[in-house]
Symmetry: C2
Subunit: 358 residues, 2 copies
Amino acid sequence: MHSQTSPTKVKWCFVMENTIKVICYGVGVIGGKIAKAILKKKGITIVGAVDVAKEKVGKDLGEVLGLDKKLGVTVTDDPEELFSNIEADIVVHCTSSYLHQVYPQIIQCVKAGLNVVSTCEELSFPFDKYPELASRIDKLALDYGVTVLGTGINPGYLMDTLSIVLTAPCLRVDHIEVTRMMNSAKRRIPFQKKIGTGLTKEEFIEKMKNKIITGHVGLYESISMIAAALGWKLDRIEEFDPEPVIADRDLETPYTKVPKGHVAGLKSIAKGYMNEKEVIVLNFVAYAHVPEEYDEIIIKGEPNIHEKIIGGVHGDIGTVAMVVNAIPKVLNAEPGLLTMKDIALPSAAVEDMRIYVA
Amino acid sequence: MHSQTSPTKVKWCFVMENTIKVICYGVGVIGGKIAKAILKKKGITIVGAVDVAKEKVGKDLGEVLGLDKKLGVTVTDDPEELFSNIEADIVVHCTSSYLHQVYPQIIQCVKAGLNVVSTCEELSFPFDKYPELASRIDKLALDYGVTVLGTGINPGYLMDTLSIVLTAPCLRVDHIEVTRMMNSAKRRIPFQKKIGTGLTKEEFIEKMKNKIITGHVGLYESISMIAAALGWKLDRIEEFDPEPVIADRDLETPYTKVPKGHVAGLKSIAKGYMNEKEVIVLNFVAYAHVPEEYDEIIIKGEPNIHEKIIGGVHGDIGTVAMVVNAIPKVLNAEPGLLTMKDIALPSAAVEDMRIYVA
């Protein structure tokens, strides 16, 4: 484990026979997929696993992941104890979308001298919405010489990092609009449920009012990150209530049937304004059997840039890859609470993971 | 001017009243456009200009740039003398595509304690083709505490940096193919001439054999950079002779008429191989009245990524923007010979340039 008092980044000092040691904090759907992806990589090992789910605690991680072998790692619900017994380089953290929920967990990791890469959406750029929590995490990370990063496919990449990178050939940027158009029928059933698939419009609105349907978490953070990269001081960021997308014909997905007139999914929109003008628009659209899947970035400026990922990027695979690929970059980074705009150029870590660590 | 002996990066220590001070080394077509773009930015000033062209030396830069005002900067052909008389933070260097030609110029800047951002294509990733020159520049830059970067739209962005960034959501990368499809009729006349527009096929082949037509410079460097980012050890990189694209009808451009059967432009292809398999293919295609302009990146892996910039990015504007936007990133970077994969996430510097300097 890293020294808990060093004021500068504790250099990850592996010997080539050794591997990067990871603790998986949260082995739910995404955390589990990340764990499986790590197991397929060379030069990296899972040395601990944390989860609060009763059916997982005390079991071998291999069993929890549905593998037909034991990994010799027992899932625990006591991270404190785990951290004091196990040496690790980094925590892969996947428990919640909301910063106030993950804050004590992140702090716990940092105080144990562990670097953190987290899928927490609100951690991807927390400085505007949660300046105080962000500042506390940053200060503590600096004190303990570790790096904390929130990432994922979105927020973390498609709407923010990639938009930022696409401004690089621009002399002027007037307006950025990003649209993620997803076929939810191809996604996990909990995701389909979360976006209200199959509900009546009235049920959707009811659930939205009760915050059961929240829309996409992270649009605010993506807008903040783009603005920060461009040096834009925004007047405000507006997050609109998610709108239901109504099926124009009878639909069927692996989750449910959607009669014509019922909800096929939703649209989440957020906008950033500067000098009273709309300058950033993010559209997150996910519904069953969308005619075309894509991720599109349109920059108006000099020159205009019209970029599109045809077919889009699958959310779960993308998030798993973003997190795994961020591991060496986090290990190399300066200490502190960083964001995707601060760490090294994103790229895939496809070979032995140790070669990417400086 | 920076100290000439500091072994670590000399921090750019502006006071907010001051501005970033630039010397323009080479004020030809691209260098001139960059100078004009810098003049439009806040927080940055041109304090010196170098060119060897007799018709420019001794004239005011404003006149050379075709502006209707004087800038109080006289173009000189003696950089040595300029560097010893003028304080500056960075040299914007635009003289040649070839490293052996620019090497003494870069060395001169470094020895004057000046950071460098250059459009020299072969400087964008020189470690494979010119390991010795690269190592010497790197060592000297470290000795003098300055940063040297080669960038531009291509190499520097469209085929390499953007490809690298697009691998970030991938767990596996098997193959990368990039195609830049340009309508040369919309480009500068020297560019149209350089790619053989209007020649007969025989004339094209003759000029190609005599190295008058060289095809696109930088494919080798882009392949090297992608491979380095992914940690791929390539067996070899093949650069193929440029192939003429034959007009299938009579064409006309601002440069010339192209009768059917004559050369409308060219196609430059390069390939990178690993373990005897083709893993990177770059296609640079530029001819008059190409049916569709675009920049496309296709990654085969997990997941597949199919990305396209519809309409493409204009080469000259893009290169100008890449260089201008790189200035604060170079000032912030660690010393040494760096590449686009090493410096901070690329982005547009659209506000007062000083706010981007840490």
